[in-house]
């Protein structure tokens, strides 16, 4: 892929458009292999799951932080206050200025709370964080988050962990069309073809966790997601996406025939 097609988020350049979540892997080794074969450059970790102050944390030791962006997330936070507290803690412990903002008060479906997410995003942006909020596929919320200064929006394709693929198609299309910041489709992508579809729609990147982590061979599936993400991106850039059938003009020119009707044509002539 040409250099000019790199993904840029908050000034940082990424070649890979596949983000990897770290929950649900069977082992640190399995995660490590998936990171390697996916060639991901963004790995998100739950702040509640890792010990940022430790140099021996099982997940953190698998991430080459020279090459890969460690993206701490606030999963488990039930409101803005909790999420902000987690993010600040992360920074204090050397987690950096990047945060994937997750506010999910509902423990069953883990659906994001739009009001608390926006509230937390405004606070964190003011405090200098690069905020990547996980949200429902709500186009208006995306615009509010963009105005608040978020680095991306991360709308869900379908509820987290469900592997249902893209069930929010109509709204994702609007979000992608309207957004001035990168759109990362997050949650619900169960198959590489789902990732390809998201990229064909025009998403800037996808985040996958469960589908890779619980696969029979996570490394192989991580590789398949890498290829699918790239294929979708290439398709988006170089094919006529979404083409249906073409329809030729009728010979009688019923809609533009009026241009022949009047020989008088003085407009614009002084």
């Amino acid at each position: 892929m040409a250099q000019s097609d790199d993904l840029i988020i908050a000034g940082r350049r990424f070649k890979s458009r596949l983000f990897l979540g770290t929950g649900k892997f069977s082992s640190g080794a399995s995660l490590e292999q998936a990171i390697h074969s996916s060639e991901t450059e963004v790995v998100t970790v739950a702040l509640r799951r890792v010990d940022l102050s430790s140099t021996e944390d099982d997940i953190l030791t698998k991430i080459d932080r020279e090459r890969i962006l460690l993206l701490p997330n606030t999963s488990g936070a039930r409101d803005a206050e909790e999420a902000v507290r987690l993010a600040r803690l992360s920074r204090e412990l050397g987690g950096g200025d990047w945060v994937k903002l997750e506010v999910t008060p509902d423990p069953v479906y883990l659906l994001p709370d739009p009001i608390e997410t926006l509230k937390a995003a405004k606070i964190l942006v003011k405090e200098g964080f690069n905020v990547l909020p996980y949200i429902n596929a709500d186009p208006i919320l995306c615009k509010h988050l963009e105005e608040a200064g978020c680095a991306t929006v991360m709308p869900l394709g379908s509820p987290i962990g469900t592997n249902q693929g893209i069930r929010t198609l109509a709204n994702l299309e609007i979000i992608i069309e309207q957004s001035n910041i990168p759109v990362v489709v997050d949650a619900g992508l169960g198959l590489p073809s789902h990732a390809a579809q998201a990229m064909e729609l025009g998403a800037d990147a996808v985040l996958v966790n469960t589908a890779i982590a619980i696969a029979k061979d996570p490394a192989k599936i991580a590789y398949a997601f890498k290829l699918a993400t790239e294929a979708g991106r290439i398709s988006r850039l170089y094919s006529n996406s979404g083409i249906s059938t073409s329809k030729k003009a009728s010979a009688s020119s019923p809609l533009t025939g009026f241009l022949e009707e009047e020989s008088r044509n003085v407009h614009g002539v002084i």
Binding site: Q178, I243, K248, A249, F258
Partner: protein, 378 residues
């Protein structure tokens, strides 16, 4: 600000970008237009190319389809009210130019009321107020007083006046102004400096960023446009599409409207008009519709009856009617018009034409209640 985008490519490069498109690009763009999604910018540029003329009927069909999908069978009507023809700028193509020795007039309060009553009695509820570029005579205080009178008659008031700072726009919004119209005239810097000799209007970049300042101030509608005939039309259409698209992406609460006036005869001796044929003009409009399906496309009475009758609803969505371009013209003032109009039909005749075409003329599509301004007094 739009100027950041504007600086990335020169006017001549923009023109060349359009003219470098091939037949394959055009066919590919048309193919994309069947996807059910708006064209992207490159596809839009392809359809501006002269070779796209061979596909005009197909473009018309798609444009009609989008217009119906987004606007239904409606045409929003508005009328302009010229508050003043005082102008301190010298624009060589404009009848109001400071250089032209014409009688000057600025409406006083009772004249504004007289004009308003005529327009109100015609059923008009959407008003566009215009002035020349005289920052002292038609200053902020004058405009505020005018709007205070006008808002007791009209539901929607838009301004097409000299560019202002964001703060002043905010004050006018607070008074009840809903929409802003700032036509760039020409996006070609060379032509711009050649045709705008003196006055505030000479500052091209201040004008270029005026829609941004309007967006930041919070106008609900912003209209942009290029006056076709001043410079190369391909460069103008590149810029206009780019500008409108940028604004619609950035100011997402604001509806962006586009106008594509062609040069008309006016007071003065300007004779450098670049001819834009009906066919080209229509092709440009279709391309805009396929690129920006949600943007209102505005057409004034500058165009002929023939063109207006056929373009209403395909792709035009907003039309002025029975316009006078002279201050006080509706209530019987002197002839001080800015330019000659072409379609002088009365509202009744015009709306009858629309209805015969199956289009619904819309006189009111906004309510003052949105703006929390006082109730109607008439």
């Amino acid at each position: 600000m739009y100027t950041e985008l504007f600086d990335k490519i020169s006017f001549s490069e923009a023109k060349e970008k359009v003219l470098s498109k091939s037949k394959i690009d055009i066919e590919s763009s048309l193919h994309s237009s069947y996807s059910g999604k708006p064209l992207n910018f490159e596809e839009y540029l392809s359809l501006l190319h002269p070779l796209a003329d061979s596909y005009l009927e197909e473009m018309a069909e798609r444009a009609l389809n989008w217009t119906k999908k987004r606007f239904g069978n409606t045409i929003s009507l508005y009328m302009p009210m010229y508050l003043s023809n005082e102008c301190r700028s010298s624009c060589v193509y404009c009848g109001f130019s400071f250089e032209n020795k014409i009688p000057r007039k600025t409406l006083n309060e009772s004249e504004i009321r007289a004009e308003s009553e005529v327009l109100y009695s015609k059923g008009i509820r959407h008003l566009l107020i215009l002035t020349g570029e005289d920052y002292s005579i038609t200053n902020l205080e004058y405009l505020r007083s005018a709007v205070r009178i006008l808002k007791s008659y009209f539901d929607s008031i838009s301004i097409e006046i000299y560019p202002m700072d964001q703060e002043k726009y905010e004050i006018l919004i607070g008074e009840g102004v809903e929409g802003l119209v700032v036509y760039q005239e020409t996006y070609d810097p060379e032509t711009y400096s050649k045709y705008h000799l003196r006055g505030m209007k000479k500052n091209m970049r201040y004008r270029l960023d005026a829609p941004d300042r309007g967006g930041l101030a919070g106008f609900r509608r912003i209209g942009v446009g290029a006056l076709l005939g001043l410079s190369d039309p391909y460069g103008e259409m590149f810029r206009l599409g780019e500008h409108a698209h940028y604004l619609s992406k950035k100011y997402w609460r604001t509806t962006i409207q586009i106008s594509l006036p062609r040069m008309r005869p006016a007071e003065g001796e300007f004779d450098k008009t670049i001819f834009v044929s009906d066919r080209e003009y229509v092709r440009f409009l279709f391309a805009l519709r396929l690129f920006l399906p949600d943007s209102g496309l505005v057409q004034s009475t500058r165009e002929s009856i023939h063109m207006r009758n056929h373009l209403a609803g395909m792709p035009i969505t907003h039309m002025s009617v029975e316009s006078r371009t002279d201050p006080g013209g509706y209530s019987g003032g002197e002839e001080l018009k800015q330019f000659e109009i072409e379609d002088s039909r009365k509202i009744e005749e015009f709306t009858e034409m629309l209805r015969k075409k199956g289009l619904d003329p819309v006189f009111k599509d906004f309510d003052r209640a949105f703006l929390q301004v006082p109730d109607r007094i008439v």
